[in-house]
Amino acid sequence: MEVVITKKVDRLWSSIQLFLLGTAGLSLLTLVCFQYQVNSTTVALLYLIVIGLVSLEGNFVPAAIVSIIAYVCLDFFFTAPLFALGMNQILDVVAPITYVTSAFVITRLISRLRKANEERQRAQETLRKSQAELAHVTRVMTMGEIAASIAHEINQPLAAVVNNASACLRWLASDSLNLEEARDAAQAVVRDGKRAGEVIARIRAILRKTDPEKGPVDISRAIREVVSVVQDEAVRNNVNLRLDLTEDLPSVWGDRVQLQQVILNLLLNGIEATAQRPDGPREILIRSHPNGSEKILISVEDSGIGVDTQDVERMFDAFYTTKPHGLGMGLAISRSIIEEHGGELSAIPNDAVGTTFQFTLPTHRTNSYARTATNRFCR
């Protein structure tokens, strides 16, 4: 309710401003033209320009009032008989009709254009929201696929806690009292408990459902966090994850969760492709390094079953999948996320075995695209 009132007041205020501006313009024009004895037709056209400018705001009422004032000025100061009103000439009839008609047409066109623009923005906003939602759903599904590994990741520190606590109790038992050992074990309990908490926090961060939130991201660190989540999945599939991360890379501007989703996706695809190979090296190399002075290149090189050159682009299509339970959205979403960050995601078949997926991201200071994109959405 309050918002509506404020809007109405705002609109009234801008109408008054427009009216005042238009009137000032008209007065100035009238003064100058009167001084220089400009003929009535030229003045009528000059007035039309002022009306056109006022109409550009798309507000009919001030434009109409300015039109009437323009007509009055024209009739009073420029058309014979001077200093008197009255429909004495053809211009006295044509001018008001032209003024009001142009004011009406221009304001209607402008307001329509504005409405269309607003709708487009709303549609874009909705699209962005549904993309974020879809990304979240696939994220949850992906994490669901590796639920067993995640459970293991949490179970490990818990097992250590139980062992250490048992050891602590044994050292405290009266027949084998050893406070030094008991203290050591209790400290280990605290350490491992914290570790379990950290694992859960990391997983929650990935599963978090919020609107994309952009900020500076340390990409090497983001990669390491994802690797710790899929490490067990890799071991389970007998795949070795090797990291070649450049430290102190300039940060990138983006949504950490979404970027991690892309990395997670590429890693899991790589693990799956590599696990399908019956023999040979089973390794995935994850690298991050600068690419030129303004970009960072992240690559995931697997030694998997590979993909045919003609299928490379199809992999990025929505619903394209080779997995029995796959939704086929992973790579499509990954690509849209990277593009939204002003980067590029591509796949290249390796010379020997496997495939390399790589994406570039502009660094924080150079990423004007992503920043303007954010600003646009912020409005």
Partner: protein, 209 residues
Amino acid sequence: MPEQPPIVFVVDDDDAVRASLERLIRSARFTVKTFASANQFLESGRPDVPSCLVLDVKLPGLGGLDLQRRLTESAISIPIIFITGHGDIPMTVRAIKAGAVEFLTKPFRDQDLLDAINQAIQLDLANRRSNAEIANLRERYESLTPREREVMQLVVAGLLNKQIAAELGTSEITIKVHRGQVMQKMRADSLADLVRISEKLNTRTAGQR
């Protein structure tokens, strides 16, 4: 024979779990040696004392079950207790069939692990004793002459001196002397004793093939 203190070997890739296992097992007054991978364990020299192996199933590189097979193939007998984060039934069956003492799912009760370790150490002790005994008997058997071995075989088969003499084409007296030598060298008190010794030697020989 003086009893040496037993050693418990632990192989687990997770630092925290490995350290916690060491603490727990040490609290039960065992000597513990830990390894982060199966290969590390294989490369390490193992002292000749009663021991057992607490082994994580899921290890990077050479897995727990692979290590078990590798040990069996190279005739290294060490009782194994498997621990795992997510044990499925086929995995458990495979491990137990291949001779594992116990299969525990993390997190386990401390007493379960310690009981299993005690059981495994006892098993290793028994294995070692019987191995030592067999080695002893084998040594005695090696000291027999070829002819004495022939005689022993026939005696154990239940033949009388007379029959053996006929079989080998010598006199009964000679056989009697050989037989006395066999009984003495094998340190058998009676015919029944000799049969038992011979069985141990044979089953062991057959079992190793």
